[in-house]
Structure formats: structure tokens, C-alpha cells
Symmetry: C2
Subunit: 389 residues, 2 copies
């Protein structure tokens, strides 16, 4: 309800320092004057903080590029990417991507490899992660101070325990504990859609919108919710499994043990069915077929009608249940032809009771591209260390 007050001046100083760093990390270079306004601090406090951070090499100041403004330009305060680097990991069904992400959110180095057969086993993934991090850290001359990992499964946030990641065939994996001991830094493991929602909120389509739901279709369908500016989690830190919303009584069987789950109607297999492709077609074939439909709105609407109906129904439910103002669609959903997306946007706005109260929910596509989960994993890691930089 109410947070514990902090009375010690050094804690106030540290809090202000962290706020300033977070602002620079997320919004980029700023003048001292705009930092003072945005953080509600006076100029002399900002000066003390910036001078201290500059001495520590965490920020630098530089003259901005010449513009049209008259007079002496204000110096810009810039975060120094190498001052705090985190390791971001995106474990997907088919491959693992990892990146070193610097203060300010820039990707400073990256690697990836495919997962097939035995390489998908948790032990193998952990070993390969540690091996792949070494050369990246050596190249940069900087070791990561924390690690964030995105996993497509049911993850307990508190300790990074992966209860179930069905498409990886993982079950009961103590991933957080194993990686913490292998990397010797704080590790945060999160559900992939939860971390993507965080990235959209901090750096993407949802920046500045405190109530947003991210929904994406990969092989499965996942969702993450930001409610009043914070990730929504449930019991034991587990997030919800939006893809397992039952939408079709007596529908197709789902691996989760029930039938008619939303992901059976709007996941990759449903795209294949709608497009007349064999299920399990390569992603490239699915995307090519979707792009081919872009120039034929009538055909696109007809062929994707059923999938669009199920997508709309699930999104109406999501808006009615969470009361979000914005839904961001990711992964395969972003490849849907524009007229189909427009129809869905309009239908969700009209059919949701809560949307009407809010004056119209919007359905938009992610603009962060395939790095969205990697960026979310990086932000989850930064959240744990920004106050220690």
C-alpha cells in the first residue's frame, strides 16, 4: 500500500542518481536543464550528480551537433555505453540469441546459434552461453554486470525456475540458479512475452502508455501485461499464459491438456492452415505467403477471415479482462496484411465494453522487430543493477 520511507540523505542521493541514470538510459542524451525539469530536481543537485557520474566515467558531456538555434548550445549529457553492460539472452524454440547491451540500450556485440536435438538441453544451453559470452566480453574489454534471459515458458520470476517450456521440452529447470553460478552475476529469467511487453513499454510502440498488453505469435502464442507501468505477475511471480485462454469449446487439442486454447486458433499452425500450407512449414514460407497477400486485400481478408475472427475474439477478452489502452502485436502477427490488421483494430475497439469506456483501445504492431525479447531481457537485467552503477 504505502512504501517504506527512506530517511537517510545518502539514500536520497543514491535514489536521485539512479533516477537520473534511468532517464539517460531510456530517453538518451539530455541537457542538464531538461534533466532538472524532468526529474523535478534543482540545477545544483543535477550539477553535483552529473559531475560525479562524469568523474566515474558513467556519463560524458558533449556539444550537440550544430542546429538552427541561436546562442551558445547547451552541453548534452550522454550515458557511456561501456560503463554498465548487461548480457541479454533470448532462448527461442529454434535458436538462442545473445547480446551485450550497454547503458543507453545499444547492442554492443551479439552472437546466436541454432538449437537442434541435444543442443536444446538446458545443460548444453548454459555451457554454450558461458562460452559465447567470453569472446564478446573480451572484444569489448568489459564484463557484464548482470544477465537477463527470455524463455518461452512458464517461469517463476523470483529465482528463474522454468516450470515448463513445452516447445523446448524443458520442465523443472533451475535456469536462474545454474546461470547465476556459471556467470557469477545477478541473473533475471523471465517469460518471453513478459519481457517483450517490458521492451515495448520502455523503448517501443507503448512508450509512455502505462497500461498495455503485448501479444505475439511464434510457434505458441504468449502475452505480457504492463499494468500501471509495472509488469503484471501472479502467484509466485508467474505471469499469465494468455495463449491458453480457452476460446473454442471442444476445439483442437492443445499440449497443455485441454482443448480449444487460443494458440491453437491463432498460432503458427493456424497461419499455415489459413494459407493452405502444410503445418510446420518454415517461417519464411509463411511470411512470404502473407506478404504476397498484401497487394490483394479482398483475397487476404477472405483467406484470413477465420484466423482474424479468433484473433479479434481473444483480443476483446484481453481488453475486457485487463483494461489495457493499447495492445501491441508481435512476431508473426506483425506480418498480417495491413487491411486485416485495420479490421481487427476496428473490431476490437467496437466490440469491447472496456474499450468503449476508455474511448477506444488501439491495436498496433511492434516496431522493435526480432530483437524485442532480447531488449526486454536487457531491461530486466538493467532494472536490477542501475542503482549499483
Amino acid at each position: 500500500m504505502t512504501s517504506t520511507p527512506v530517511a537517510r540523505p545518502d539514500e536520497v542521493r543514491r535514489y536521485n542518481r539512479t533516477s537520473l541514470l534511468r532517464r539517460l538510459h531510456l530517453a538518451g542524451p539530455s541537457t542538464r536543464a531538461s534533466l532538472a525539469t524532468e526529474l523535478g530536481l534543482n540545477r545544483s543537485t543535477i550539477k553535483t550528480l552529473v559531475d560525479g557520474l562524469a568523474r566515474a566515467g558513467v556519463v560524458a558531456e558533449r556539444v550537440p551537433r550544430p542546429g538552427r538555434q541561436a546562442g551558445r548550445p547547451s552541453l548534452l549529457v550522454l550515458p557511456q555505453p561501456e560503463a554498465a553492460v548487461v548480457l541479454a539472452v533470448d532462448v527461442r524454440v529454434e535458436h538462442v540469441a545473445l547480446a551485450m547491451v550497454g547503458l543507453g540500450g545499444q547492442i554492443l556485440g551479439r552472437d546466436s546459434w541454432n538449437l537442434r536435438g541435444r543442443t536444446r538441453e538446458p545443460e548444453e544451453v548454459v555451457t554454450r552461453l558461458v562460452e559465447s559470452t567470453e569472446p564478446l566480453a573480451t572484444d569489448l574489454g568489459v564484463r557484464p554486470v548482470a544477465c537477463g534471459v527470455s524463455v518461452p515458458g512458464v517461469v517463476r520470476r523470483a529465482d528463474g525456475h522454468v516450470h515448463e517450456a513445452p516447445n523446448l521440452r524443458w520442465s523443472g529447470v533451475a535456469l536462474g540458479r545454474r546461470l547465476t553460478s556459471a556467470l557469477a552475476v545477478p541473473v533475471v529469467v523471465g517469460n518471453d512475452a513478459e519481457l517483450a511487453a517490458l521492451a515495448e513499454y520502455l523503448r517501443g510502440t507503448a512508450t509512455g502508455t502505462p497500461d498495455v498488453v503485448f501479444v505475439s505469435a511464434d510457434i505458441g502464442v504468449g502475452g505480457g501485461v504492463i499494468a500501471q507501468g509495472a509488469s503484471l505477475r501472479g502467484g509466485a511471480g508467474y505471469v499469465g499464459e494468455i495463449g491458453h485462454m480457452a476460446v473454442r469449446p471442444n476445439g483442437r487439442p492443445c499440449y497443455c491438456g485441454t482443448t480449444g486454447c487460443w494458440e491453437t486458433e491463432v498460432g503458427e499452425a493456424a497461419f499455415c492452415r489459413a494459407l493452405g500450407l502444410p503445418e510446420n512449414s518454415p517461417r519464411g514460407a509463411v511470411v512470404a505467403e502473407l506478404h504476397a497477400l498484401a497487394s490483394e486485400p479482398a483475397v487476404a481478408r477472405r483467406r484470413l477471415a477465420e484466423l482474424a475472427d479468433w484473433l479479434t475474439l481473444g483480443l476483446v477478452n484481453i481488453v475486457n479482462l485487463f483494461g489495457g489502452e493499447l495492445v501491441v502485436l508481435g512476431d508473426l502477427f506483425t506480418e498480417l496484411p495491413a487491411p486485416v490488421l485495420d479490421d481487427i483494430d476496428r473490431a476490437v475497439r467496437e466490440r469491447s465494453l472496456v474499450s468503449r469506456a476508455l474511448g477506444g483501445v488501439r491495436v498496433r504492431t511492434s516496431a522493435l522487430g526480432p530483437d524485442v525479447k532480447l531488449l526486454g531481457a536487457a531491461e530486466a537485467a538493467f532494472e536490477t543493477v542501475l542503482d549499483m552503477v
Copy 2:
């Protein structure tokens, strides 16, 4: 992410005072020693706070009833109910209940009246509320310091604007503003299920469970979510409308403009259909029929099978989407025969992916009875004033 630190000693003192009052308000009489332990404060701080509150008449100390313990008994610190009284209002479709609730949560006086025809108009309800409060306040010799109102509809929490309360035929009612000016105290207006969830979390079946969903069937079906110990709200403070989850494609038409909403399958009308009663039968007849089934488990299961299936499907969705550890059923759901409730509890636990991760979600019935929304409204009002008592 991080809360603003509070540095001034008087604010720390006020914070501690509010924490102590909240603890006494919710958990009842305690010894100074247990208060010190629970609040993490030292004995001398507790002494100063309790002495100050006792001088102000907000708490009293008394010798506990003789028990089996040897030695001199510790004094109990008790909240004084009249030291802070709030007005709690539960606007229902058929009637309005109001109560004066004292510090500690005790109902000190109450009134209610039926709503029919013109008396259901917002102006009439506000006028009657103000008129009914006067004699209650006079009897007690205490004026309320705040007011909480439960409304069965879509409510914007920030200013108590009722966007839509279909069963009351209210639309666009500035209830918060009107009542604030009529009563001249802070007024909080909330959705009825949201406030019931708060009551269950603070004083009911869900005490101590930080992730809980309350779902109740009255004429409509509503739900409220407590996530990590706080009410879940969406954009502009609106809460979700769980009853309008679409569960049955091409199902029955719902007043919200779509078809197949959950409440068309598990609301009061669905109970009537299942029991072979005319829709719109009086509540008493529905409850009597349900009670008659209590002694015939096989018959109960058969007649309520379809309703139980839809209830289970919606609850599985709720657990999968919100990740709650506990679902509390209210109103008409509490009247379901025990074997049917047991089946639903078991089915939700088995069929929800998230439930399996959490080691088994529980479905329980409310123990707070018909006052649950009234008690929730009282707690919402106390939240706004406990720091000013």
C-alpha cells in the same frame, strides 16, 4: 519502479503511525510487543506512537481476558471504532445498503432501501443517501470522515465517474463528484467486484494471499483482481469486465453488444435455465432450488452440468490469464451445492497450465456473506483517510 524517498523525520513518524493504525484496523487488538515485531519498529517508538494515539482517543489499552498464561498479562492496544468512521455504500440493482463502519472494521449502524423505477435514478439515489446518513451520524454522534461506494458497473476510479452500469440503466454519471459535494468528505467509487476482492483480501477468505481473483454472479457476473497485494486496474483506472469474456462463439446475445459473454452462461439467468425456473425468477426461488439439490449430489451434478462447465472454462481462463493462487466465488456462486463446487475446484486445478505451475490453484467461496461489497467500500474509504486519523 522505485518510489520517491521521504526524508523528513515528521513524515517517517506519520508513516509509522499510519502503519500501526492500519495493522490495528485490519488485524484487531495487539500487544505493544507484537506490534513492534510485526512493524519492525523498536519498543520505544511503539510506546511513543501508542501513547500519542491514546491521548488522541484513537486507541485504548486494556487488560486482556484472563487466559492460561502465567504472569502479568500484557495490555492490549485496541482501535477505538468511533475515532474514525466511514460511510460505506453498496448500490445494487435491486437495493442500496449503507453502513457506518468504524476503525477496526465494525459496522456501527446501517440502513437500506429498495430501488424501483424512479428511485433508481442517480439524483434520487444521491439525495436518499445524504438523507439516510444524517440519522445514522446523529445516533452515533460521529460524522463520517470519508465515503466508499460500490457500483455494479464500469467505474473510473480517479474521479468516481460511472461510465456504464447497465443493470441500473446508468450511463455517464458523475457519481464521485456529486457525492463529494453533497457529503463534503472524500468519496471513492469503485466497481463492486473490485471492492469485494479488496474485502476478501483484507478481511475474508483471501487474507494473506497476495494474488487472488474474486468472481461473483448477481444478475451480471463481475470480477476483481488483487495482484501482488494491490487492486489491478487498467487504463484510466478502469478495472476489467470479467463477465464479458467471450466464451461461446455465436452464443447468446449480451447487452454489451456482442454474443457469448461469460455472464450469459453463468449469470442469474443461466441459473434459472439450469434449474428449470423462468428467467427473472426471484433470487429466493433460485436459492431455494439450489439448497434443495444439496442432498442429491447426482441430480445436482446433472442439472448444473452445463453451467458448471462454463464456470470452469471461465475460471481456467482467469487463472491462466492472471496467474492467481486463489479464486474466491461470491454471491449466487456461493449457493452452488458442495459437490458441484468441489468438482469445479478440482477441474480448474487440473486444467489450468498456470495452476499446475503454482502447485494447484484453489477455488473457494466467500465467507463474508452479503456484506462483502459494503466492507470493500469501507476499506477503500479507509485507505484514503487512515493517514489523516
